[in-house]
Amino acid sequence: MTSKGASVISRATEPVAPATLTRPRAALREGAATSWPLLLSIVPFGMITGVAAIATGFSLPLAIGMTVIIFAGASQLATMQLLTTGAAVAVIVLTASMINLRFLLYSASLAPHFQHLPLHWKLLLAYFTTDPAYGITIVALNERIPIPMKHWYYAGAAGLLWVGWIIGTLTGALLGTQIPTEWSLDFAISLNFIAVLIPAIRDRATLLSALGGGGVAIVARGLPFNLGLIVGALCGIGAGLLLEQWQRGSGNDAPRASDE
């Protein structure tokens, strides 16, 4: 998703006369025009989530309800995986929270653009925020969308992705009841995580955090309530921070990710 985002971002930054964007409808439409190519990955990802929800044993309302209420694919898949392994509720909530903590970063980055809006607008736009929605809009928001049109533009781009995600989940959940278990479709959840994990590894420090997180999680698997996951994740984060610190100290700076 990130790579597609990047190619469309470059297109979105081509100079457009700012004077054209003065009406809400035009801004909505421009937002949707920016994000629609991402539907190609959002809708199938939503379908996989819907299929996984049925494979987990959820009813159709539960499958759709989860997508509308949580609206964050990786944490939804993690929640389902942990529910089937009988993890403690606290571990499920903690894991989903850790996965979704990254939204704080997006929130920090979007905040200046929406500062002038009333609370209900801020909450709506915050709810719409996803990795691709943020990635595809932030450059245009920073550089060329006039302040009175920013929320319309963002609502157009992120709202379209929301619709695609819901339609994908619904389709997947309807299909899921007819897919035999011999197809091992639950493995698509693992593959999806792998596909999300790989772009998150950008330099040595993030690579070390992934190796540390996975390695410690294997060793700590025996801990009760699936706590090995939390221990592994914290060790991975610590290892990444330490390496980054050490690289800075020795003046051997790794490329710093200031983009997300």
Binding site: V93, Y127, L191, I194, I198, T206, A210, G213, C235
Partner: protein, 123 residues
């Protein structure tokens, strides 16, 4: 293997609401409280490692453990899920295409499962 959920449907709805509320809090916190306080720099730096560390800790154990036993590459003689996962990771690394990686991973898994089945029935 039909899934067995230990939680009731009502409890799962409640779980969704709790996770949803926390997630919306993360999404909205700084947009709503814009400019009123700053996040400590060490937290912002740690957030950068959250996706890689958490996702890795989440996916690695279910891939390498089979029926409670650690099988890094072998389950009997081959852990087809680890192998398919590694190939999918390589495809993702080279092409950065999510759908292609998932498709290749599933095809490799199905191919290996087919091969393993064939070998089991050999005399």
């Amino acid at each position: 293997m039909p899934p067995v959920l230990v939680m009731s449907e009502a409890a799962i709805w409640l779980l969704f609401l709790v996770i949803g509320a926390l997630t919306l809090t993360f999404r909205a916190a700084l947009i709503v409280l814009a400019g009123r306080f700053a996040i400590p720099p060490v937290i912002l730096r740690a957030l950068r490692f959250v996706p890689s560390a958490v996702l890795s800790a989440l996916i690695v154990p279910p891939l390498v453990f089979y029926q409670g036993q650690l099988h890094l590459l072998g389950q009997g003689w081959l852990n087809e899920r680890v192998l398919a996962g590694l190939i999918a990771a390589a495809v993702m690394w080279r092409t950065k295409r999510v759908l292609l990686a998932i498709l290749v991973g599933m095809l490799v898994l199905w191919g290996l499962q087919f091969l393993i089945n064939q070998l089991q029935y050999m005399p």
